[in-house]
Symmetry: C2
DNA sequence: TATTGTTATACTCTATAACTATA
DNA sequence: TATAGTTATAGAGTATAACAATA
């Protein structure tokens, strides 16, 4: 565990800062959707699928920290948009296997370009040093978001 | 503007990582409310007010990146909970001035303690170096969230 | 005529509870 | 009896459009 005993005031400020920034950024990111019809969580699910290639709805729900019924809806919407395929699980007939389509991969690619452009524009207000700090922290933030 | 010409691949990864982490963290932070009756944006408004002491609903809407009607509702809810006061604007009778109450400040204090505890628990999975990176990036993230 | 804030309304996302099918 | 997923339903939060009051 990080040593929090040294600068309680500093860490409290960091926590507040982090929380506030995360909430604000998330609100703004919602407006930067590539495809207007794709919600942040839908995007996140596609991102997850592009990493692990396939997963069951239950696994996705746990990874995205969403309840199973919500994931049912999300997966159904993604399937209707032709972005994922739903197949029966080979070993367990209760489960399903979700995989992404080629179209999803192409969309993620386009999405990356757009978000990169948006963030780059936003980052015009940052200097090199600040940007470097952000880049260094990104994987840590991701790890934090996945910790239980 | 940061030099993005060097590592397109690296920056694309950082952007994706950042976006994904921010969305996931924000979803989890929603569940870590101090006061169950206080939404993330309501909390954020109180945080903003504790910094700038007073603001009009319009200013708050712009700062929080929320539409004016949403801020009307948020301010009304906060007032009903005794966390802000609404006074007429001295110079412009169309506007109002929002200020936080002592109760709000006390609540923010309690909130900070709790969030600190939650994040500290979560941060047990991080090493000192990772935590330091996060702390260094916090003010940058905040700046980014405020950039237009 | 432009601006600040509000009201009325609808939409999106998520959750909980109850149900079905399979293990 | 427990688990994976679904259906039905409700609630929270936000947006847009139309309106009121003031500049």
């Amino acid at each position: 565990m990080p040593d929090l005993s040294h600068g309680d005031a500093i860490d409290t400020a960091a926590v507040n800062s982090l929380r506030s920034a995360v909430m604000r950024l998330s609100r703004r990111l919602k407006h930067q959707r590539v495809d207007e019809s794709l919600s942040p969580t839908e995007m996140s699910v596609l991102g997850t699928l592009s990493m692990c290639s396939s997963a069951t709805p239950g696994e996705l729900a746990r990874k995205e920290h969403v309840q199973p019924p919500s994931m049912t809806r999300i997966v159904a919407l993604l399937e209707a948009k032709g972005l994922v395929r739903l197949e029966p699980h080979p070993d367990d007939r209760r489960q399903k296997v979700v995989t992404q389509t080629e179209r999803a991969e192409a969309m993620l690619e386009e999405s990356r370009r757009r978000r990169n452009a948006w963030l780059a524009t936003l980052a015009e207000g940052l200097d090199e040093d600040e940007w470097a700090k952000l880049r260094a922290a990104a994987p840590v933030l991701e790890k934090l978001a996945h910790l239980s």
